[in-house]
Amino acid sequence: MSNQILDEELRDCFQELSNVAVGRAADLLARLLNTFVIMPIPVVNLLERAELSMALSSIEDAESVSAVCQGFTGSKIAGEALLIFNDASFTDMAELTHYTGEITKQIELELLMDISNILIGACLKGLAEQLDVRFSQGQPYLLGQHLNISELLKKNTTTWQRLLTIEIPYKLEGHQVNCDLLLLFTEDSLPVLRNKVSYLME
């Protein structure tokens, strides 16, 4: 199944499915933080592994970021979710969670995990329900703290050549909080996804 292209109809459908999933995640985040989440428009792409950094359109290369990733799999669909958090966001995040002490690396990690649990969990659940599948999630893994994007991606090479990527740039209204959720599906998942989606498009 190499040389696949993502036709417009399929891309559009994934975007809409993601949009609904993102809405659920946004709702949970808004409830956790008692704030309003500006609904992002998900960006769907089919990318080569080497182009991954380009997918991260909302985070500039020189910015310092921290990231968590978490694998998921189910019904022959598999991939990884990557949550990339702009380090400049931690001050506001701490404020939103009513944390008052000094923001150490440890506190940042705690905040990062709280957010990733919600955004990754709810997004995957939302997608899975619409596709009528169930994903099991692996343990999350800290990719790194205080790195720039190229350092982050350099450290983590995968064997997958081509990936279906869904980028979801979250922002909170009135706060300097910026994070990017990236859902990456393996090339092997594409035929299954295509199949599932075709039922919905009928």
Binding site: L32, E110, M113, G121, A122
Partner: protein, 318 residues
């Protein structure tokens, strides 16, 4: 075989599996009382399942942070969303002694955990399950690897002779600062500094003294910069400095201060001492610069100007 018997035997082997697996399972009710507890937890905590059931989790583990734990648990049960914790965030949730006398290198078991909301048949969340994974091996090897990597990273960032940043890393920082400038411009300046007639020193007194001179100049620079400024060893006897929130005029003053201090710094010789002078070029950041190399270039030209006008002086970029 009749139906109840089949159900019973199924229940029996399910429990058997839960008891045997090498992961911990704790189930709590909404008041944080223990409703289930498998062998893994029993064996590692030293508390029998019979003694644990019905007790409050915070009574059994008195060093478990109630505030932290309840925050996690409430998020999970209220939002009906799983939560994961990693050893990097919190080495352990439940404090278990490391049980390996030979291979154990840590005092406690490192843990990853998963918090899972458990709904009853009506769909209401009535229990919370916590799955505990022993990740001591992964954690210890990653910590050791991390320490080695930190050392390597530090080594690859600093110049061995002067303990200043090396050129590569200094340029990385400059590149980042330059990008920040383009978004949010402030008055920063760049100084290039070169030791005058350094070749003569090497030729006259030998490389050992040459190295001492470089170290002495670097020390004057490091001692006189603010914490926000960053300096690097740009080349053999050439140094580069970025001054944050310091316009060209202020930076000129600092450059002159450095020049005078270096002029007065004696570098000891086996029989006596030697003095050196330096030439400097100062360039403030300008909005029309499109890449950081142009900034270095301007400071370099000012430095060249100082050399041409007789050395031991500071020049400003036009």
């Amino acid at each position: 075989m009749n139906q109840p018997h089949t159900e019973f035997s199924e229940f029996h082997w399910l429990v058997e599996v839960l008891q045997t697996v090498d992961i911990g399972i704790v189930v709590l009710d909404m008041e944080y009382n223990i409703t289930a507890w498998n062998s893994f937890i029993e064996n590692n905590s030293g508390v029998d399942s019979a003694d644990a059931l019905g007790r409050n989790i915070f009574d059994v583990f008195d060093d478990l942070s109630e505030q932290w734990f309840k925050h996690k648990a409430e998020t999970v049960t209220q939002l009906r969303n799983r939560a994961f914790t990693t050893w990097e965030q919190r080495p352990y949730v439940f404090k278990f002694k490391n049980t390996r006398p030979v291979t154990g290198v840590t005092d406690y078991m490192y843990q990853n955990t998963t918090f899972i909301p458990v709904a009853n048949s009506a769909g209401d969340v009535e229990n919370l399950a916590i799955i505990v994974y022993d990740v001591t091996d992964t954690a210890t090897s990653k910590i050791e690897l991390g320490e080695v990597n930190d050392q390597l990273a530090l080594m690859s960032r600093t110049d061995g002779l002067t303990q200043m940043l090396n050129r590569g890393y200094w340029e990385d920082l400059l590149a980042k600062e330059f990008l920040r400038q383009q978004r949010n411009p402030r008055e920063h300046s760049l100084i290039m500094l070169d030791i005058d007639h350094f070749k003569n020193i090497n030729d006259t007194y030998g490389h050992q003294v040459g190295d001492d001179v470089i170290r002495a100049v670097a020390k004057v620079i490091l001692d006189n910069l603010r914490a926000t400024d960053f300096s690097g060893r740009y080349g053999g006897e050439e140094f580069s400095l970025v001054l944050i929130d310091s316009d060209q005029q202020n930076s000129f003053q600092l450059a002159e201060r450095l020049r005078k201090k270096i002029e007065q710094t004696a570098v000891p010789l086996p029989d006596g001492e030697v003095f050196v002078t330096v030439s400097l070029g100062v360039a403030g950041w300008k909005p029309e610069m499109s890449e950081y190399a142009q900034w270095i270039e301007q400071a370099d030209q000012a430095l060249y100007e100082s050399k041409r006008n007789g050395r031991n002086r500071t020049s400003l970029a036009p």
